[in-house]
Symmetry: D3
Subunit: 243 residues, 6 copies
């Protein structure tokens, strides 16, 4: 029995609220249970230096946690003067994943900056961030189509993400903090709406695990991401920018 | 006529939601119109090194803005590797103001850390932060009383803050971003619920102004802060910790 | 009785020595008693990036303390790798104050950098710095007029600054370190030679204070600043650049 | 046909030279073709602060590249003043992988620091680093057993790593730089000598890929790591410390 | 003919004013012509961590330049966030030189911190700093003897420093900025009052030079330092602490 | 008797292996006994900003140590976030020395970056670095001549370096770590192949020393550098680039 009473393959209650941030070109408040991440997309009319005059665009991401999003306070990275290795790893993952389904040539010489800020944390923040960031990116790019800046939406696929892991010997989907802290193995799966692989990161937390266990985790992830893709489509239909 | 249609002495719509942050010992989502600041209070059982073995406590504050709380994106301070001078000025102000009404000896050898994070910005973020931070601090300290850690609430007064300024020759209260950008003079007033002065910072933005003008701003501030004090009392009665 | 034997409204012995720094376009060694600040003005032929091609100039300031200007040694900020929040607050205040009385359009596309370095500290360093910085700025700008770079002096007013506070219940002017350490309330007043307000920062150090007390501090400040303005006029007549 | 003429499942020429670094408690110069990584293990008699008095040890890793290990010069991280996100990601991966097969309780309250420095880079540096780091760690821990500090070798398994990817539609093993730059998908597999999973990181570089393709990569990795495990055993028999 | 009209072996006008800094345990304003350096010595009752419980003391130094001590403004190191390589080289040299003539065991477990801040720069700042720092150190240590903290002055020798160089083919002593900028070779000599070598740094600025030229520079330095030693003795007799 | 059994004027076994680094335009693995430094030269087609449009080139250097090149582990500077004062001093010395024998005008508007990385440390790393860096620089510049970029080799002289010091009263050449740790005085001599002085840094480690002792050290250095120059010529003849 999971601490939350969920079935092994059940996601937490999902909420994806597009258009949450008043000023951003695209945004989504993404919640999987008690993990809440505010994702915004900012469109800029220039690309980073290494892409100048290359006729293509870029998508990048930054990630942060409010100090008291966590059970005990986490030190503010701005005050410490640098981002942790974990933060950098997560924001690189978010950016890389979004770029893999964006047609950067069709985007043209502009950059979309994604900001994912964790307001409340209860495990799985990077998967919630990716799932919400896709919605924010879609909304921002739809806005560029709507105002005639570009002619077609430069997205080849949707993506969503979920964590799966082995907790007390049992493979389960969408781990909360309590499960995550005790998992024997833990994986983050980022798949397209069509079920293709964008990125898999799977780690033995306590001891190595078998390929068969990995396959079970993969099945759980595929099912969860199919559901999240449905939530994403619903969230984007609620915002007039994507009509 | 103000852009918002408000009377010169009218505050924006006020919302103070105590207990907003699930994990914090005290918290308040404070909103003056479209300026939204999440304030949390964290209680720690030790004081900073310079106070060790002095038999008293400490209250300190940190401040931040989500990158896309603003009309155009503000660079993330954690990524830039340091807090701006403006950020440091604001967080020093918040901490100093709260300490001025806290009985640090009665608090005992513990520290309360206040985090004020701007989710949405439309002018006056530091005054919203102080007004909400007081609620978060009160809630956290009430919790210490409730669980028997300390015997009486170590707060001598309430405090709240508001900005007043001269916009197109007219003294007005609680400036929004549009007014703030065009103000000839601008002041932040931090007063106690009883109308005493905690801190005044008043600056000529375009050209020096007279003492008579200053007095008018003071009157507006005193009225606004009296109203904010009422909102604070209401917010704190809504949370069972303060019963 | 004040520790120094001064009357409540008496300044410390004032010395403003224009032209002290051999290489600078303008300079002033400003001393209020045992607080000595070396202020220099450097004229640069370009403006910061955010003002490029806007047809106006800029005035900015930096502040520092020699490590052993203080009773006990203060750690060198260059060695610690960053400026403290206090330093940033003070240098922002100096720059903002000087800009408020400078005609930035008449200055043209050039920047004046003010450096205020505390050689000896005995309270009130920021007010001494502002009072001396005005002299340095005036001298540098007069030089630009003298050599024909600009046609008229781009200064609308003079400014000076003094601290006033309540010490053992008594309102006094121009606090030295011993008084400053024990003040119940403490304010920095920056006024023009004509008595208009440029900036007021007034803080309750121990407990909130009344509006009547604030008014008394204001009176003391106005009198002190009138005297400082006279000293400034004398200092500037001593340097041939301002003839 | 691969640029190197290798069969799809063929590793590059492997060289693992244990004991290469004269001063280190354990070391290995690990070479896969033209990727050369010097791995050293340093044993320290104390653990990091978060583990103090917990009765267990720790293994951690740092990673760096000599500036001219690469085709064009890479800026020196020490001169830039910080480690890149990529560097942090790699060193976290190395440390995490080694900890997963180390019995930290049996290690006792000591820390092993692994340093992996790339002398020459031609793709796959992180997999070469992990493969060599295991040898260095084993040698250092064997030394602790040999001198009686601990009674049994606190290692539960061996680990090795290899990259596999899809290049021009073809799944291949142990990519060199030219292949890596053009891969459609790219994965790093870290498995135990017994074939269990320690960590898998698999990323779509150009476009999402299928689960069937992932399975092919996994097969290649399993075969390659079996071979690398043999090389590791040979390297450790060559050094008297492991006798 | 030298730009200043000095003879090749003539020092600039020397002024060593002991006791210049009101708060410091020892101090000296040292001037060689238009190079003015304020040197202070601070005595602390503890040693740096690497010397704890070793029964000896330490002498260390920091160096800085006021931004407008130079002809054109030098960026403030505290604002840039780090000390330059040149600054670190100079302060390491000052500390090393002073330690070479201090009996660190006789000093006991305390540290003397020397601060050398350049108020006005016209070449040779490091040699002025060392010459003044010795006076400040002597004064501070004499104070410790005077108040009974230690029984005898823990100084084995005096030291002073001067630069010598080859300018337009001519060996000269105590170069000013104009000479220094054009020197073919340039050396800093730090000798004891008795003429022994503490440190020599001699560099070809434009092209290598001969051993015979080096010998000439050495002769000039020995003569100059003998004179500086006399000035130091006079300065220390003027301050009552050394009586 | 020296710990190594060497005669007072004997160098350690010397090895200079040109072309060691596969990717660099010039390189040399330089070994004096157990001090091994990998030196590479990178040619860039642009100069640093301060030299733009001046019609000349530049040579600069960076220095680092692998963490476990030393007997006990040295903290990684990239992880600490800054280069130590010692590192900066050494890399400034290497760059300055190489520039003194390079015809920067003949080099044209390009920069050569030298990287010296210590793989194994046993005293004298800076002298080994300079000796090897000259070989790497020569190889890189010869390559520019060979491919027709410049017409003649822009080097006026060769340089090499050695340390000499007084150990237990005995002047000796090319100190290893054990000798260096106990030296009474220690000097680094950088001379041209023709015996002219490029730089001398000579320091009293324990107590001041005499000019006669200095002269003895100079003789030892001159002899050692003559031998090193022969090794350099041999190393460069082994690499076809210099034919």
């Amino acid at each position: 029995m999971r601490p939350s009473g969920r079935a092994p393959n059940a996601l937490r209650p999902i909420r994806l609220e597009a258009g949450f941030a008043k000023h951003a070109e695209g945004s989504c408040l993404a919640c999987f249970g008690d993990t809440h991440v505010l994702c915004t997309a900012t469109v800029e009319d220039r690309v980073p230096p290494f892409l100048r005059d290359r006729g293509q665009g870029w998508v990048t991401a930054e990630y942060g946690m409010l100090p008291r999003s966590t059970h005990t306070r986490t030190a503010r990275e701005a005050a410490r003067g640098k981002q942790s290795g974990r933060t950098q790893e997560i924001q690189r993952l978010i950016g890389r994943s979004l770029r893999s389904i964006t047609d950067l040539a069709a985007l043209g010489e502009r950059q979309v900056r994604i900001d994912c800020d964790v307001l409340l944390a209860d495990g799985g923040t990077r998967t919630v961030a990716i799932t919400g960031a896709y919605v924010a990116l879609h909304a921002a790019l739809s806005g560029l189509v709507a105002n005639g800046t570009i002619s077609t939406l430069p997205l080849q696929e949707s993506i969503a993400a979920v964590s799966c892991g082995i907790v007390e010997g049992e493979p389960v989907c969408d781990l909360d903090y309590e499960e995550d802290s005790n998992a024997e193995a833990d994986g983050n799966f980022i798949l397209t709406g069509g079920g293709q692989i964008v990125e898999i990161q799977c780690t033995a937390e306590k001891s190595p695990f078998s390929r068969a266990q990995f396959s079970t985790l993969y099945e759980l992830a595929a099912k969860g991401i199919a559901e999240l893709s449905t939530w994403q489509r619903q969230a984007l239909q609620l915002t007039p920018k994507t009509a």
